[in-house]
């Protein structure tokens, strides 16, 4: 058995501010190693990076380059792969976020090692890293050993609940040189629906065909808003295919996989493709007029009846709590 395992936790920033998902990455990294080095690519100091010690980072390293303001796939991959090669790391941990899903395979391929993506559990067994990942749309779990060193892993958002394990982490900024990237992020267009993404929200309120027409989604939006900025609006495939909502909102097999603390399914029957995207939610509430709808089989709490009567009432009650 190796004495101590050193893990590299790849964190993320946007506009110079650390993304909260980084807390989950550090928490996950701590699960498989005694020493965690958090690393973030940026142009300079990252606001919030000093907080990573609270979640178990022994050291926080900023890899700085003038070209790292926005996501720079080739530059980030080069800088991280070089850091890993210089290091003796047992594993490299990413978030399975939009950036992590793009970046982790590049880094793994540069290093010539395996990647276990979108893990919901990771563990160290002796010197081997084992990972559990949902496959077949969440209808099965695949447990794998990563046979190469280092193991590269990405963690499903919202699964690795941040655990505070305070360390007095040292901070360090290292200027890195990378080749000019051919792939360049020119701009980020803000989504119309606000900054909270369904894949990362603590609460998701989703609507389906039971809403009857697109304008009725306002009852879903109002309920989401009642949660005071913690909730995002999701949608079933049926309503996305019908053009009522953007694909960014779609939860399910050909949309996003979500694991919020609370998932509220409104007027969604619960087709297997939808269940694939939300069955790992901690608590599921279903509101549907059909008491035999499959969604009630996975829901912790169900209310049967007319959503247009039930949802506004629920919105009112939630507002009271947050008022």
């Amino acid at each position: 058995m190796s004495a101590t395992r050193l893990i590299l936790a790849v964190c993320e920033q946007r506009d110079g501010v650390l993304r909260k998902i980084s807390h989950e990455v550090v928490t996950g990294a701590r699960r498989i190693g005694e020493t965690v080095e958090a690393v973030v690519c940026a142009t300079g100091p990252v606001q919030g990076a000093d907080q990573l010690g609270r979640f178990g980072a022994d050291k926080v390293v900023t890899l700085s380059n003038a070209a790292f303001a926005k996501y720079n796939p080739e530059g980030y991959a080069q800088a991280i792969a070089e850091r890993v090669r210089a290091g003796g790391y047992a594993a490299v941990v990413f978030a399975a976020s939009a950036t992590g899903k793009d970046l982790a395979p590049r880094v793994a391929a540069k290093l010539g090692v395996g990647l276990a993506a979108d893990c919901t559990d990771i563990a160290a067994e002796g010197s081997t890293i084992v990972a559990t990942r949902p496959v077949y749309a969440g209808k099965a779990l695949l447990k794998v050993k990563v046979a190469t060193k280092p193991a590269v892993l990405s963690l499903r958002p919202n699964v690795f609940t941040p655990v505070e394990r305070p360390k007095t982490g040292a901070a360090e900024t290292v200027a890195v040189t990378v080749v000019a990237g051919r792939v360049v992020v020119r701009e980020i267009k803000a989504a119309e629906t606000g900054a909270l993404d369904v894949a990362e929200a603590q609460i998701v309120v989703s609507g389906g065909r039971g809403l009857k027409e697109p304008a009725n989604f306002k009852v879903i939006e109002e309920l989401a808003r009642a949660f005071g900025g913690q909730a995002a609006v999701g949608a079933s495939r049926a309503v996305v295919d019908a053009g009522w909502r953007a694909h960014a909102d779609q939860v399910g097999q050909t949309g996003k996989t979500v694991s919020p603390t609370l998932y509220v399914a409104v007027g969604i029957s619960g087709a297997i493709q939808h269940l694939a995207g939300m069955r790992t939610s901690k608590v599921i509430v279903a509101i549907n007029k059909d008491k035999d709808a499959p969604i009630f089989k996975v829901a912790d709490y169900g209310v049967v009846g007319d959503l247009f009567e039930i949802v506004p009432r629920l919105t009112e009650e939630i507002k009271k709590l947050h008022g």
Binding site: A98, Y136, L142, A147, I272, A276, K297, I318
Partner: protein, 244 residues
């Protein structure tokens, strides 16, 4: 434009998962296999932009999957034949990269992920192995000569990405509306060239320990009917589930 589209044969999304007696893989008896839905977007995008070769790594039965892409309109197919599609993304990428290496492709397209193993890695790994620029999970694509602009969804926004050709692109839903193969296409597909090449896969980077059913969710309850049940629902969410 000379385009390669890498596709995969996967169980249909409605499949009921039964685990094989080895405890490590899917029991394929009675399972219907289809062209991976995300790969349909890749094939469609290829068809709109040039001459398409589809490349598939998988068992002999994946010839059927290739025929589906040929029926959509692809020009030729290559099957890199193995006993089964490996769970190992890097090994898959190595085999595909070796096949694509001498190709002189303008564009190599993939689906952003396969709906069976959820690996989401083979496209960018192939790009890395071939030294090509790559944009993943693309929902909008414009190409003008040797320059491309792609849009990909990120949390709370859309990244607008510029890249030069040749490049590797992985397709997300929304990139286009894939066509259904017409009868004429299905007939024509039978005569299109499909080359079968046995391949030896490299040393594995991922070893399967077990495939298990997901934990059952505990039996839920119907709180009640109509808006009158809402106060009790909120009480349960606060006091029992402790999520409010």
């Amino acid at each position: 434009m000379k385009i390669a589209v890498c596709i995969k044969r996967v169980p249909d999304s409605e499949t009921r998962v039964k685990i094989a007696s080895n405890g490590k893989s899917l029991d394929e008896a009675g399972v219907k296999f289809v062209l991976n839905p995300y790969d349909e977007f890749a094939v469609e995008e290829g068809l709109r932009r040039g001459e398409v070769t589809v490349v598939c790594l998988g068992p002999a039965a994946a010839q059927e999957t290739i025929r589906t892409a040929l029926a959509m309109g692809a020009d030729r197919g290559v099957l890199l034949q193995t006993d089964a599609a490996p769970a190992d993304g890097f090994v898959t990428a190595q085999a595909l990269a070796a096949e694509l290496q001498p190709g002189g492709w303008d564009l190599i397209l993939f689906g952003k992920m396969a709906i069976d193993d959820y690996n989401q890695q083979v496209g960018p790994m192939v790009a890395e192995l071939l030294g090509l620029p790559c944009v993943t999970a693309v929902a909008h694509l414009e190409i003008d000569g040797q320059k491309g602009v792609a849009e990909r969804e990120i949390e709370g926004g859309i990244e607008v990405v510029e890249f030069p050709l040749p490049a590797v692109i992985t397709a997300d839903k929304g990139l286009n509306e894939p066509r259904y193969p017409a009868l004429k296409g299905i007939m024509a597909a039978k005569k299109k060239p499909l080359e079968v090449k046995p391949v030896q896969l490299g040393a594995g980077t991922i070893e399967v320990v077990a495939l298990t059913p997901p934990p059952e969710r505990k039996e839920g309850k119907i709180v009640g009917e109509g808006p009158g049940a809402v106060p009790e629902l909120v009480r349960l969410l606060r006091e029992e589930a402790k999520v409010l």
